[in-house]
Amino acid sequence: MNRIYLATRSERAGHWINAVGFVLLVLSGFNIHFAREFNVFGTFNAAVAVHNMVGIAVTMNYILWWFYSVGSRRIRFYMPDRDDLAPGLIRQARFYLLGIFQGAAHPFAEGEARKFNPLQKWTYLGVMVVLFPIQIVTGLWLFYLIRGWQDATSAQLRILGVTHNMFAIMLTAFLLGHIYLATTGETPWAHFKMMFTGYSHAHGEVVPVDEGVSDEMA
């Protein structure tokens, strides 16, 4: 079994800061939105305070992530190649829908050149490049308006608020899916361990990218 160093120390630190922040934002966000039904922080104002502070912390963490990923060129792991779009995605999806139940090997083994499977690449890219920025911009903008630093109409607030809500739901859906899929490693805990130690125990033997296992099943 070969150990691969997949996640650097900075990546792991960033990941867990983000993870804790993310969960707090979801909880406090729901508290603000469903003030009566979901009052987990006790008071509305407490939820708002947590949401504002954590929101800003997560924003800074996000900016650091860009500096680090681009600076270290590890952003390349997120870049899809030509195989990743339709064929790779289909193979990975088929694995989750069928192969995983039959004990098939993961179609995309981790290695020096590959950290993520195609599904991961696309969702992480979507989250980091589309969802997060929209959420951060609408969140900061709302903060700005509500503080009364700028005049605004309720129509503006509504558009911002609804957008912020919509993307919050998508991000929450991502979070749930992400946590679940993290249990689909070699053992249910394998991926979680990797995110703490940085090392992955590669699945079985390394399978060349261009002839995935799942093709045999087709």
């Binding site: 939105h33 009566r36 605004a152 309720s154 608020g161 859906a173 249990t183």
Partner: protein
């Protein structure tokens, strides 16, 4: 009547204080204070608004004097507040519409004290019923309200909530002013449970905020019809709004409180307030979107749970 009982003490105190003042005045300055029948000699309080007409000053020593709040109760149990806040009087719609002198509304003999019995008692309807139909609509709404259907009915009329001396159109009232009458009576004068309003609204996670910044009538009346008189039809508390979505949603109930009999917008809820002073999450909340979003999340949870269960079951079977 028990309802307004605590104030009777006040009326007594006022008369006692009055007597004491007269005594002091008589001994101290030698000038005769109210010792004669002519009330015109009593000195008015200082710092009265300059806009007050001459004739009012003769009544000011007693009726515009915050230290002396003559009040009394009539046979029906209604409390009559004899104190008039001078600034509110000058700011009132009647003063601004040129009804400045007390005698514009009170004809009768008030030049002496104690005032002679039998002066006619004016009411809003003396003047208003004849010239605007809105007032009779309001009267119908008040008559249908919870205040007129219970045992306290006799104690209620327009002046219980509105003083003609300080009345302004709704668009000029602050939320606090609109609520002041309700709060004063329900916390102190008529409070059979002894609980504060905040305690009685404890079901609301933001009770204090809403009691302070939302008009009571926004929950305690229900919009209906095309005129604005429904705002006077206070419903029994079983019909009060407790659904957050009624206000915190795109088609907010609050919109029904924006218009006014007299044009303009009363201050229950204005755009500037919405943005400047408060952010009503409601403006940004849509019930259908919430349902859609929650359905999506539920789907994800169910989907992953099924997937996980399948994995678990099939893995065991494979091993076996």
């Amino acid at each position: 009547m028990a309802l307004l009982a605590s104030r009777q003490v006040k009326a007594g105190k006022a008369v006692a204080a009055l007597g004491f003042l007269m005594l002091l005045g008589g001994i101290g300055s030698g000038a005769v204070l109210l010792n004669t029948d002519d009330v015109g000699h009593s000195p008015p309080p200082e710092d009265l608004p300059a806009a007050l007409p001459e004739s009012v000053l003769s009544c000011a020593a007693c009726h515009l004097n915050p230290g002396l709040q003559p009040s009394y109760r009539d046979e029906a149990g209604r409390l009559h507040q004899g104190y008039i806040d001078a600034d509110a009087y000058v700011g009132s719609i009647h003063f601004r519409r040129d009804m400045r002198e007390c005698t514009d509304c009170h004809d009768g003999d008030y030049s002496r004290f104690p005032h002679p019995k039998g002066n006619p008692e004016p009411s809003c309807h003396d003047c208003h019923e004849n010239f605007e139909e809105e007032y009779s609509d309001i009267q119908v709404a008040v008559a249908a309200s919870v205040h007129k259907s219970g045992g306290a009915a006799g104690a209620f009329d327009c002046a219980t909530c509105h003083s003609p001396h300080t009345m302004v159109p709704a668009r000029e009232m602050t939320v606090r002013e609109k609520n002041a009458g309700c709060v004063e009576c329900h916390e102190k004068r008529y409070n059979p449970t002894g609980l504060t309003l905040e305690q009685r609204h404890a079901w609301h996670p933001q009770a204090a905020l809403h009691l302070e910044r939302v008009a009571c009538i926004a929950c305690h009346t229900q919009p209906s019809g095309t005129d604005f008189s429904f705002r006077h039809n206070i419903r029994p508390s079983s019909e009060a709004t407790s659904d957050c979505y009624a206000c915190h949603s795109a088609d907010t109930k609050m919109a029904a409180y924006e218009g006014s009999f007299f044009g303009g917008r009363p201050q229950v809820y204005t755009r500037t307030q919405l943005v400047r002073a408060y952010y009503m999450s409601g403006g940004t909340r849509s019930a259908s979107m919430d349902r859609l979003g929650l359905a999506l999340l539920l789907l994800v949870v169910l989907g992953t749970a099924t997937h996980g269960a399948l994995r678990f079951v099939l893995r065991r079977r494979r091993r076996a």
